[in-house]
């Protein structure tokens, strides 16, 4: 392993999820360490989205355990998952289009001040500007309205938000699916910046090139089964493709 | 209500044939003065000309009837050299009427003609106008607690009783004084329609022993007239006649009769309306329309207000005559009531 000193921030043991008689995930185990990027790959319908929803608290697993920092947790809803320090960047980004960037970064967790708990816009703007600078998300200003931004900028904001609030883990669901080449490169830079913040990253992507550029390890799913986990440095595309397709 | 008074008056009228307007009484029991007695003299006109007097017409709604009243008032004001500076429509909303009054007062009118929407809400609403010194002439309704002379110049209204009575007379004549009739009345606490409806009923019961009212149906929403008429006809398929409280629901009753293929049940209703008149002149179910002289009403309102402005004595309660319109006098009737030609469709169908 890369860094044996740190305990995994996320540890999934023998996760199984069935919807009625249909088994979506069977016996899945994986751990993600602080500062590590793990990619989850597999064909459509392999069970990636189901896994993301289990980790983010949307679905409860039928059996198996989820541990955060070694502590077993139950996550009945998304709020609980966030309380455990897990943030998700959804494919649809979950941004409110007509609000400025800073309100989106603090959506649902707005800062207030004073006895009447009025919004502390100044503080939110300041933190937003610091964060987008740090993650190199190029936007016109913290006041810019989301609907005026490009796809890459929006993706950057969504990742920045997850980064800001995540203490343990960020889940990225197809972060560059809708982006052009230049914007993809920009987002990949942002993801790489997360490593330096000692946060675990679990990324779902269809692009193997991207997976090889970003990840430390690759976990392959096929039809709900865990086919295997490889260290990115010690494998190649051919092996991963054959694991995905089963041929 | 005042059924006994009305019955007594009715009996008196049939016995000694006193003038028709005698039976309609004001909201507080005032006796009626015919509108023909409220006339601006040449001296009045001379006294009003060139004074820069202004008038406001604050109506409760927009309708054919109100247009005719306003035309009568506008012409009379013009004759006296008085400018009509404001015209409003409250859309039956008491709060809007109050706002309209306040807005009109900014233009400082000397005379205000209006139909107060209801006695309770309008009592406070018109206070500002009284304080501003405007002469108030009300159409049909009186705000609660208002005193003639100090608070307002006059109430002017239709000869309500005569309208109901003449409707009874024309319907009775069309069915030969014998048979069964239905009575569709306005189901609301509104003394204008209440008096007209009750006058019809009282006249049938007192004057026409051969006619029986076998079906009574209240209506509050004219749009439901057709279904109510259908139900009435289902229970009483052999009705000889139906009285409908005013022309708009009469359209619905006509529709019900037509869809039932009924050409024998006679209809009488109040107010002039093109579709109902068209049926009448084509020899359909409608045998008569009883109208008020709306134009004359407006003229009398303006005249009463201006007389008040000149400090002359104005009778508290003024009525404009009723008018029975049948297929024979439809052209004249339209002129007399609304001061304009009957619709072309009605004239050409004749």
């Amino acid at each position: 392993m890369l860094d044996t000193a740190s305990a995994p921030v996320l540890e999934l043991s023998n996760i199984r999820k069935a919807f009625g008689g249909i088994v979506a995930i069977e016996d899945f185990s994986l751990d993600v360490r602080a500062g590590e990027v793990v990619a989850l790959v597999g064909d459509n319908g392999a069970g990636k989205s189901t896994l993301i929803k289990i980790i983010s608290g949307v679905y409860a697993p039928t059996s198996g355990a989820i541990r955060i920092d070694g502590q077993e947790v139950s996550m009945p809803n998304a709020t609980k998952a966030r309380e455990h320090g897990i943030e998700v960047v959804y494919q649809d980004l979950a941004l409110v289009d007509q609000q400025p960037v800073y309100m989106n970064l603090f959506l649902g967790r707005e800062l207030t001040k004073g006895p009447f708990r009025v919004l502390d816009r100044r503080q939110m703007i300041a933190e937003t500007e610091r964060l987008v600078t740090e993650l190199d998300v190029r936007i016109p200003s913290a006041h810019a309205t989301i609907s005026d931004l490009s796809g890459g900028q929006r993706q950057g904001i969504a990742i920045a938000r997850a980064t800001h609030w995540a203490r343990k883990l960020v889940l990225l669901d197809e972060p560059t699916a809708a982006l052009g080449v230049a914007e993809t490169a920009k987002v990949e830079k942002t993801v790489a910046a997360l490593k330096s913040r000692d946060i675990g990253v679990l990324i779902i992507s269809h692009s193997l090139d991207q997976v090889f550029r970003l990840s430390d390890r690759i976990c392959v799913l096929r039809r709900g089964k865990q086919i295997g986990v490889r260290e990115t440095a010690k494998t190649d595309k051919n092996e991963i493709v054959s694991m995905i397709t089963g041929v | 209500m005042k059924t006994t008074t009305m019955l007594a008056a009715l009996l008196a009228s049939t016995l000694i044939a006193s003038p028709a307007w005698a039976q309609t009484i004001g909201p507080n029991g005032e006796t009626a003065t015919p509108s023909s007695e409220v006339v601006l003299t040449d001296a009045d006109i001379a006294a009003l000309q060139g004074k820069g007097y202004k008038a406001a017409l604050l109506w409760h709604t927009s309708s054919d009837f109100i247009n005719a009243v306003a035309a009568g008032a506008n012409d009379e004001f013009a004759r006296a050299g008085v400018d009509v500076v404001v015209t409003t429509d409250a859309g039956f909303d008491a709060a809007k009427q109050r706002s309209d009054i306040e807005t009109a007062l900014a233009a400082s009118p000397n005379v205000i003609l209006s139909l107060p929407l209801d006695p309770v809400t309008s009592a406070e609403a018109f206070r500002g106008a009284i304080d501003a010194g405007a002469e108030l002439v009300f159409l049909s309704n009186l705000p609660a607690g208002y005193v003639h002379g100090t608070d307002y110049a006059a109430i002017v209204t239709d000869d309500l009783f005569q309208m109901g009575k003449q409707a009874a007379d024309v319907l009775a004549a069309s069915i030969g004084g014998e048979g069964t009739v239905g009575w569709i009345f306005h189901d609301a606490d509104y003394y204008v329609t209440n008096q007209r409806d009750n006058a019809f009923k009282a006249t049938i019961e007192a004057d026409y022993p051969g006619i029986e009212i076998v079906a009574e149906q209240g209506i509050s929403d004219p749009a439901r007239a057709e279904e109510l008429a259908n139900a009435m006809l289902l229970q009483n398929p052999d009705l000889d006649g139906i009285y409908v409280t005013w022309a708009e629901p009469a359209d619905g009753v006509l529709a019900a009769l037509r869809s039932a293929g009924n050409t024998t049940t006679k209809i009488v209703t109040l107010d002039l309306s093109e579709p109902v008149a068209l049926d009448m002149v084509k020899g359909g179910n409608v045998v008569g329309l009883v109208a008020d002289e709306a134009y004359e009403l407006g003229r009398a309102m303006a005249a009463a207000g201006l007389k008040g402005l000149l400090g002359e004595e104005v009778p508290a309660f003024v009525v404009a005559p009723a008018l029975t319109v049948t297929a024979d006098n439809v052209a004249e009737g339209w002129q007399q009531s609304l001061h304009r030609d009957a619709p072309a469709s009605v004239l050409s169908a004749k």
């Binding site: 709020t79 979950a94 007509q98 959506l107 | 109050r98 306040e102 807005t103 406070e124």
Partner: protein
């Protein structure tokens, strides 16, 4: 990392333009233009008298209060069609309660009026937020239901309101020379504006209307927000009912019913989007005043009733067209 600060705008002017949303200023420009027009055309007809200008504010006070509620409902992505009939029922409940208990008229009047409004709001809110029924249909139904209850409460009769304290505070009274209806308008707009713009609740309302799923996944209790906005709308309709009852010194089943379209127009012209996520309480106030000023000015111009309606309709059309054009810019 690049040398230029990412947060720094490409051009300061463009950033400023991005911050100033022209759409929200349409109503102010329109208000000013129409005011100047009337001031010139009607200079001899009493339009500019202090009394007339105060009257406009007094006349629009109930509509402005309703408009604040509608800003919250629309911003949350819902619609309320029932507030107009709620006004009448609230006014009637207040008047009946005061008639029943003349000794404690003032408090029972307020309680009954606001209580009726909040109850309608709660019913709307529960049906919409918890049973997930579409707000258009729910409030269309409650609009008719409440209007029917209003009619049956008193068999269409008007109820007089005679308590001097009540008619003073909600109607014709004044404090230091300022009419009470002006005070109510200012206080309601100020509180509404602060809640809308300066609290987490206001931010959550906007997020709910903009992207309910995003709001949900970021931990905003969307159902609770939707319930609250209908409670606010109902409560403010109740307050508007009290103001009408105080101003007319009577309650009637028709109160507020004709305000529905005026209030919707005022709120939309004031920069609130019909499909949620964006709005302005101050804009709604100016929109409401604009509507009142239009009514007032067109009447004083001596136009016939039908011409008043045509001109008013055209002006609203222009205002809406301009504000929506700005939005899609």
């Amino acid at each position: 990392m690049s040398a230029s600060s990412p947060a720094a705008p490409a051009s300061p002017v463009r950033a400023l333009l991005a911050r100033i949303n022209l759409q929200q200023y349409v109503v102010y420009v329109g208000f000013l233009a129409i005011f100047l027009f009337f001031a010139v055309v009607l200079r001899d007809s009493g339009f500019l008298t202090q009394r007339n200008l105060v009257n406009i504010v007094l006349q629009t006070a109930p509509a402005t209060i309703m408009a604040i509620g509608l800003v919250f409902v629309l911003s949350a992505g819902d619609i309320d069609l029932s507030f107009g009939s709620t006004v009448a029922v609230s006014a009637l409940c207040a008047a009946m309660a005061m008639a029943a208990m003349p000794a404690a008229a003032f408090p029972v009047g307020i309680l009954a009026g606001l209580g009726a409004g909040l109850l309608v709001g709660a019913i709307n809110g529960v049906l919409i937020a918890w049973l997930r029924l579409p707000s258009f249909l729910v409030t269309l139904a409650t609009m008719g239901l409440v209007a029917g209850i209003g009619r049956s409460l008193t068999q269409l009769r008007s109820i007089p309101v005679t308590d001097p304290l009540f008619t003073g505070i909600f109607g014709s009274g004044s404090l230091f020379g300022v009419p009470s209806l002006v005070i109510w308008t200012v206080v309601a707009v100020a509180i509404g504006h602060v809640i809308y713009r300066q609290t987490r609740f206001g931010a959550h309302v906007l997020a709910t209307g903009d992207n309910a799923r995003a709001a949900q996944v970021t931990g905003i209790k969307v159902s609770r927000i939707r319930l609250w906005v209908f409670m606010i709308s109902g409560g403010l309709a109740g307050l508007a009912g009290l103001l009408y009852a105080g101003r007319l010194q009577a309650a009637k089943y028709t109160l507020g019913e004709t305000d529905l379209m005026t209030v919707i127009a005022a709120v939309i012209v004031g920069g609130t989007l019909l499909n949620g996520g964006k709005g302005s309480v101050i804009g709604a106030l100016v929109g409401s005043l604009l509507m009142g000023m239009l009514n007032n000015g067109l009447i004083l111009m001596g136009l016939s009733v039908s011409d008043q309606m045509i001109v008013r309709g055209l002006i609203i059309l222009v205002a809406v067209a301009v504000s929506l054009r700005e939005k899609t810019r």
